[in-house]
């Protein structure tokens, strides 16, 4: 993904989002997003920080066979669009599940996992992934 050595601050400054699922909610239209932003991507309204629900369901998914640089180790892996209970969507990898068992509508929950290692001697980056709910 990078042809240069990335500074750890790239991930450090996203810690609230990556480890605690904190994002923003629009005070005008109610849209919830996992990114930290000032203006709503849908209606242009003002956004305020909020915590996103940690459970949701898979609305679409795919299995990646030809990965971008840095994800060879995990291939094949499942990438899913998750609709969170109570609003908001996130894109994430699914974990602890066989790709052949994934289906649309599957209930999932957020966990913190290793996302990538940037090369030999590079930093190990953690972030959210989703797994099938353990205690429905």
């Amino acid at each position: 993904m990078w042809s240069y050595r990335v500074s750890p601050v790239v991930f450090w400054r996203r810690r609230a989002s990556l480890y605690r699922l904190e994002g923003s909610r629009c005070s005008s239209c109610g849209h919830v997003t996992i990114s930290r932003r000032v203006k709503c991507p849908r209606c242009g309204g003002d956004m305020e920080p909020c915590s996103l629900p940690q459970r949701g369901r898979v609305i679409s998914f795919t299995v990646v066979n030809t990965p971008p640089r840095g994800f060879e180790y995990y291939t094949p892996y499942v990438l899913a669009l998750v609709e969170l209970d109570g609003g908001g969507r996130v894109l994430a990898q699914l974990t602890d599940v066989d790709p052949s068992e994934v289906e649309q509508g599957m209930e999932v929950e957020a966990v913190v996992r290793r996302v990538r290692v940037s090369g030999k001697g590079g930093i190990i980056v953690y972030g959210y992934k989703f797994r099938p709910v353990l205690h429905p």
Partner: protein, 384 residues
């Protein structure tokens, strides 16, 4: 407002040009377009390109273009809008001429993709069209994001995998007799269904190939057509959508495609039914189908059936991508938007050879960047 005309065009064959560099391709297309227009000078150059920094270690394509076209001194710069870079560069060229400050400009799109021999590098480069923090960080590739949309489309409309095959089959059929096309062979449904998944449900035969290419047009101002080989740029517009899929209101009906097409047609004083030939952006089959529906050629979920009906064939009521589209003519990313318009230019002059659409009068080109996060549409009109 002053009128803008395409007065000349040039392109290279799309493919794996092992013996040609980014510079060679750009210069060939640019000089061919100027020769076609019968001019040896332009007042400005706009370069459409997406990945030269990533794949070729080269930016400053404006200076590069002026330098290698022998036009050092003229204003020149690169325009980037992911896979819509070509269309975006063209729109900047048209605006420059419309402004009245320039009378004649060159727009050239170029992409040199095969210098990176590792697919992972090209995959990573293409992925930069998407949202880095919210998508690429988690291992999303460009094809996988389109796969998420395709699965949603199939489940919402209850479509089988077979139904997606109609567009790539038609594209390959169209490209067979097109000299500049990259993949000049036919496929059938059996081959389509046998092709492996790149990112399920997207198959290899849903996907445009990796290739090199460059295409260029010369634009001229005038109150009347400057030459007998002039085609008017009658309308154009571009529109954006959310960068990340997770923030998008309707993944199957991106407002960018609808807005760009509607406003471009409006500017030309046309409705979609008036258009004689359409260029859609079938980087993956699903994107092509969303273009067809966004342009109002088929109801949601009906684009595959529309292609199957034959209406989009070269001799159909509204031919789509008669040169094979991104799937088979090829998709040298930043050049694609210009290839679309060069092909329309030839169609409207009646110079499209075996791919010629009888009596073509108006052409529409839809150039899609990202997963429809940036869309540019152009309408060309034959001059009588």
């Amino acid at each position: 407002m002053r009128r803008v005309f395409v007065v000349g065009a040039g392109l290279t064959k799309v493919g794996q040009h092992w013996d040609r560099s980014l510079k060679d391709l750009l210069a060939e297309a640019g000089l061919k377009a100027m020769e076609d227009a019968g001019v040896d000078e332009v007042e400005a150059i706009f370069v459409g390109n997406m990945m030269s920094g990533i794949l070729n270690g080269q930016e400053s394509l404006g200076s590069l273009a002026a330098d290698y076209l022998g036009l050092t001194g003229v204003p020149a710069f690169k325009v980037e809008a992911a896979c819509a870079s070509g269309g975006a560069a063209l729109m900047q060229g048209v605006l420059a001429v419309k402004s009245g400050l320039f009378d004649r400009v060159l727009v050239v799109g170029v992409e040199k993709m095969t210098d990176a021999t590792d697919t992972a590098d090209v995959t990573s480069g293409l992925a930069t069209a998407a949202d880095f923090e919210l998508e690429l960080f988690f291992g999303a590739s460009f094809v996988s994001l389109n796969a998420l949309v395709m699965r949603l489309y199939a489940s919402e409309h209850g479509l089988s995998e077979e139904e997606f095959g109609h567009l790539p089959i038609l594209m390959h059929k169209n490209a067979v007799d097109v000299e500049h096309a990259q993949l000049r062979f036919e496929i059938n449904m059996e081959k389509y269904l046998d092709s492996p998944y790149v990112a399920e449900p997207i198959r290899l035969l849903d996907s445009s190939p990796i290739g090199d290419g460059a295409a260029a047009v010369v634009l001229s101002a005038g109150s009347s057509p400057p030459s007998d080989r002039s085609v008017e740029v009658a309308g154009f517009w571009s529109a954006t959508e959310t960068l990340a899929l997770c923030d998008r209101e309707d993944l199957l009906r991106p407002k960018s495609i609808r807005a760009a097409v509607r406003k471009a047609l409006e500017m030309a004083g046309l409705e979609i039914g008036d258009v004689s030939v359409v260029q859609i952006h079938d980087a993956f089959s699903i994107v092509g189908y969303l273009c067809i529906e966004g342009a109002g050629l088929a109801e949601p979920g009906r684009a595959p059936a529309f292609i199957e009906s034959g209406e989009a064939n070269r001799d159909g009521s509204i031919p789509i991508n008669p040169e094979g589209g991104l799937k088979a003519r090829g998709h040298p990313v930043g050049a694609t938007g210009i290839y679309q318009v060069v092909e329309l230019y030839r169609q409207l002059l009646g110079e499209a050879g075996p791919s010629q659409v009888e009596g073509a009068r108006h052409g529409l080109a839809i150039n899609v960047g990202g997963v429809a996060s940036n869309v540019v549409a152009h309408v060309l009109r034959r001059v009588d």
